[in-house]
Amino acid sequence: METSGQQGNGTWVAVDTKNLKVEGENKGTILVAKTSGRVDGSNAKEFQDALESILGNNATALLLDMEDLSYISSAGLRVILLIARQLQGKSGKFGVCSLSPSISEVFQISGFDKIIPVHPAQADALASLGS
């Protein structure tokens, strides 16, 4: 069962399909979306719905943890950009962390690392977003 909106403490599953799982976690004022599997043109919409459900209406800081994500296509990058813009529009904060070497390369080649804040690990990211 998919849940929507901001929860209390603890974690919840926003989407869980064959190729993609996104879990929400509330870390104080920051929401973390932990993503595993792969994001491509075929599930980019599910990815977007999951992130939007985690964000809910009032959230102002979202961290996308990509530690267990093995692949992201340009359709997935577009979703990240859309979410970043949504938060920007509400003066919120957004960042990504824990990129695998291959995803890090995708960010570098496309230049996304110059427009989206990238953090090495969740702890750095939380410190930065919380400040």
Partner: protein
């Protein structure tokens, strides 16, 4: 000059409206919205050509101006280009050159309108994958320039769900060849329309500028305007001079090109990492230069090649790409293209294809047989 022009007026090819100075020209431009381009001397009484250039966008930002200057007057020519002139011709006027310049400017304007129109349509149309896939196929070139000294070949293998790859080969006015490869984010009709407008804007900008970095800068600015959909496109654009073998190329968030030498050794070429186009306006782009030797092949490709995955979820990767030609250097651009596709297909085997696979190749050599 007027008399030479009148011959064309009689032939009905172009319609001219004449003005004695900048002020009169502005008045006539305001009166007649049918005018596409302005041909103006820099030296004129009352309002000179450089002042006129500054005023033209206020009348119609889509008007293009070609300036006439004294031969060697680089200072004024540079000022004119900085103020947005599309091109220039020098005195004494070579009428053949003038005609080429006029027709190039008009074809640029036509491409431009087409691009703006397809951009407007983005808002209206919704998902139909067939339409999108047809659009994608329809913009790909099917004939490639080839000569005794160089050959070009390109092909794309679309993924079942539409991806967003395209490539283009553009014949530029100076005998140079523009080569572009690109990958649009997203799928469906909106992405295909974005692709078409990116392709046409790129072509228009390429015809208008000899400088790949400026071409990407212009296209990025246009795509970034009001781009609420957050779609973007990665583009590698190169301009090739068949005479000298010189290539200049600029990168907007795309995979680095390859060069394969006559002995089969292969290198990834350096690119000065620009950002994908359509995301942020007013970004700078820079270009890199290389000269192809006899027997060299320049290879452009999309991430559908390097990220092609086999049944064990392994990616094809850069190393496999770099090793394709080690034991069998390509004999032509077509050959190189086939080798890339063949090697990727063999690697992927039965695993499903999740992204378009696209490759565009240029070979320099002796092809007169």
């Amino acid at each position: 000059m007027l008399q030479r022009m009148r011959r064309h007026i009689r032939s009905g090819k172009y319609n001219f409206t004449f003005a004695q100075n900048g002020l009169e020209a502005l008045a006539k431009l305001r009166e007649d919205s049918e005018i596409d381009m302005v041909l103006s001397d820099i030296n004129m009484p009352q309002m000179d050509g450089l002042t006129l250039l500054e005023q033209i966008p206020n009348v119609d930002p889509d008007l293009r101006a070609v300036m006439i200057s004294a031969y060697g007057d680089m200072r004024n020519i540079r000022t004119a280009m900085n103020r947005g002139a599309f091109d220039f011709v020098t005195k004494p006027i070579d009428f053949e050159d003038l005609e080429v310049t006029i027709s190039r400017t008009l074809s640029h304007i036509e491409e431009w309108r087409e691009a703006l129109a397809s951009r407007d349509k983005l808002v209206a149309i919704q998902n139909e994958l067939d339409v999108a896939s047809n659009m994608q196929q329809s913009i790909l070139p099917t004939q490639f320039p080839s000569s005794p000294t160089f050959q070009v070949f390109g092909s794309m293998e679309p993924a079942r769900s539409v991806g967003g790859d395209f490539f283009d080969v553009i014949r530029l006015g100076n005998g140079h060849i523009g080569l572009a490869i690109a990958d649009v984010s997203g799928k469906g009709v909106p992405a295909a329309l974005f692709m078409m407008s990116a392709r046409t804007l790129l072509k228009g900008a390429a015809i208008g500028s000899p400088n790949p970095a400026d071409v990407l800068k212009e296209v990025n600015n246009l795509l970034s305007q009001d781009n609420d959909s957050a779609m973007f496109v990665t583009i590698l654009y190169a301009e090739y001079d068949p005479e000298s073998g010189h290539l200049s190329y600029a990168n907007g968030g795309h995979n680095a090109p390859l060069i394969v030498h006559a002995n089969g050794s292969t290198e990834l070429l350096p690119t000065s990492g620009g950002i994908a186009l359509g995301l942020v306006p007013n970004l700078p782009y820079t270009q890199d230069e290389i000269t192809l030797g006899q027997g060299d092949t320049f290879i452009l490709y999309t991430d559908g090649v390097t990220e092609a995955m086999n049944a064990d979820y392994e990616e094809f990767g850069n190393d496999r790409l770099l090793n394709i030609f080690t034991s069998s250097p390509p004999q032509s651009s077509h050959d190189a293209n086939d080798a890339v596709f063949h090697t990727v297909r063999t690697f992927v085997a039965e695993a499903p294809q999740s992204d378009d696979i696209t490759c565009l190749t240029l070979s320099r050599g002796n092809f007169s047989s």
